[in-house]
């Protein structure tokens, strides 16, 4: 069975549910503390997840202290080997601060996840958003490879989720978009509520050049089961949820499951 390591930093708070959804997707998952490099290097996994939370209490800048930890040297090596790496929310912030995404020059900081900022609205935000993958991401990124281009609702919960790039890099950015914010019909729109944090190009997930490293702000593990989807949301998934029986709620996968199914298939094929 393919193995996935979930890396827990001080302040991570989504490691258990992340490990659980990986298991439910047919993968073997193990949680490793940030200081268990020896144990991890003796049990190299097939893929890695940096879960959400507030590593090191977001001190200095979200994700930056974790990005300097020695375990990130290990993750760095594994990423350069081509292994799939997923950073969710705070995990995404760590990957950005580690220079693993966009990765034009790995290890160098070429993006930022800055404070949410849309006209009239800023600060911490917790809500369901709609996401759409790019064709490029479906082809290149193991985590998004099972998506068929359909719109999926997934929740966000962050204060620093606005992707920012240097002006001179903007032309290169489009090829690195993994997921974009859109409405329930797949139509992108700048600004609240479709783009909840003011992210450039409506970007919700950023991948590296090879596509094996994905930094995403939304939490797919919080949309893994149908019962996690609120019945009041618009679109196809809201309808599925409203029409579901109690039995369906336990049995039907939610919209976030597709990321983990994609990884499963990718690792199985390998």
């Amino acid at each position: 069975m393919a193995t996935v390591a979930v890396i827990r930093f001080p302040g991570s708070n989504c490691e258990f549910e992340t490990a659980r959804v990986l298991e439910a997707s047919g993968l073997s998952s193990t949680i490793y503390n940030w200081n268990e490099i020896q144990r991890l290097s003796e049990n190299r996994a097939d893929a890695y997840v940096l879960p959400g939370g507030f590593s090191f209490q977001d001190r200095v800048r979200a994700g930056v202290i974790a990005s300097r930890e020695d375990i990130m040297d290990f993750i760095f090596e594994e990423a350069l080997e081509g292994k799939p790496i997923l950073g969710i929310c705070n995990g995404a912030q760590i990957l950005v601060e580690a220079g693993l995404v966009p990765g034009w020059k790995p290890g160098f900081i070429q993006a930022a996840l800055s404070d949410n900022y849309t006209p009239g609205r800023s600060g911490y935000l917790s809500k369901w958003v709609y996401l759409k993958p790019t064709d490029n991401a479906i082809k290149k990124c193991p985590w998004l490879s099972a998506m068929n281009g359909e719109v999926i609702p997934i929740p966000i919960a962050h204060a620093e989720g606005r992707f920012v790039f240097r002006d001179e890099d903007l032309e290169k950015v489009e090829a690195h978009i993994g997921l974009t914010y859109c409405d329930e019909n797949g139509v992108p729109a700048d600004g609240w509520p479709v783009n909840p944090n003011g992210s450039i190009l409506n970007m919700a997930a950023l991948m590296n050049t090879e596509g094996n490293v994905l930094a995403m702000m939304p939490h797919p593990e919080r949309a893994f089961h149908l019962w996690q989807v609120p019945p009041v949301i618009e679109g196809k998934w809201g309808e599925i949820r409203r029409n579901a029986s109690i039995k369906d709620l336990d049995e039907i996968a939610g919209p976030g499951a597709v990321l983990f199914q994609g990884l499963y298939r990718y690792l199985e094929e390998k």
Binding site: R59, R68, A112
Partner: protein, 169 residues
């Protein structure tokens, strides 16, 4: 119009500054700072009343200064700040977001409450304490190097993609 700055710091040791200093020590620099202090730095462009208006504002908004856990003082470049050991050479680096949601939100809030503030700018002032006899230009260079994160292993306190830094002596 008068520009008034205040520096706000925790009364107790600041865990954020401690974490940052530990991360800097892990960089194994030849000449790391001996001390690192962190301040919330608020700059107010005041149309009337200068420091008096800012003093009233600070007393009014406990989200700017919570007197139970923070202390504050007016900040003037060149002056030392409370808690700074005079045996060290201190240099400040001011870090602020290019697109600063906290500043714009607070500007609106403060104006709505009737304070004569034209604009407000929030950032973080990091003050490095180096050995007293360290050369001034070297101190400035080292502070900037630590302030700007160009890579995983170099710099720490700001992300140059979204933030700006300025040296404040």
């Amino acid at each position: 119009m008068e520009n008034v700055k205040i520096a706000v710091r925790l009364i107790t040791p600041d865990p954020e500054a401690t974490t940052a200093l530990n991360a800097i020590k892990d960089m194994r620099l030849q000449l790391p700072p001996l001390k690192l202090h962190r301040y919330d730095l608020w700059q107010f462009d005041v149309s009337e009343g200068g420091e008096e208006t800012v003093g009233e504002l600070v007393n009014h908004f406990t989200d700017i200064v919570n007197p139970n856990k923070q202390s504050w003082s007016f900040y003037k470049e060149g002056n030392s700040l409370a808690g700074e050991n005079e045996e060290l050479k201190w240099i400040g680096v001011f870090v602020t977001d290019r697109k600063n949601s906290k500043s714009s939100n607070w500007t609106e809030l403060v104006r709505r409450r009737g304070f004569s503030i034209e604009s407000l700018n929030y950032g973080v002032l990091w003050r490095f304490g180096y050995l007293r006899d360290t050369d001034d230009s070297l101190v400035e260079k080292m502070a900037i190097d630590l302030a700007v994160s160009h890579s995983r292993t170099g710099g720490l306190l700001s992300n140059p993609v979204s933030q700006e830094v300025a040296v404040w002596n």
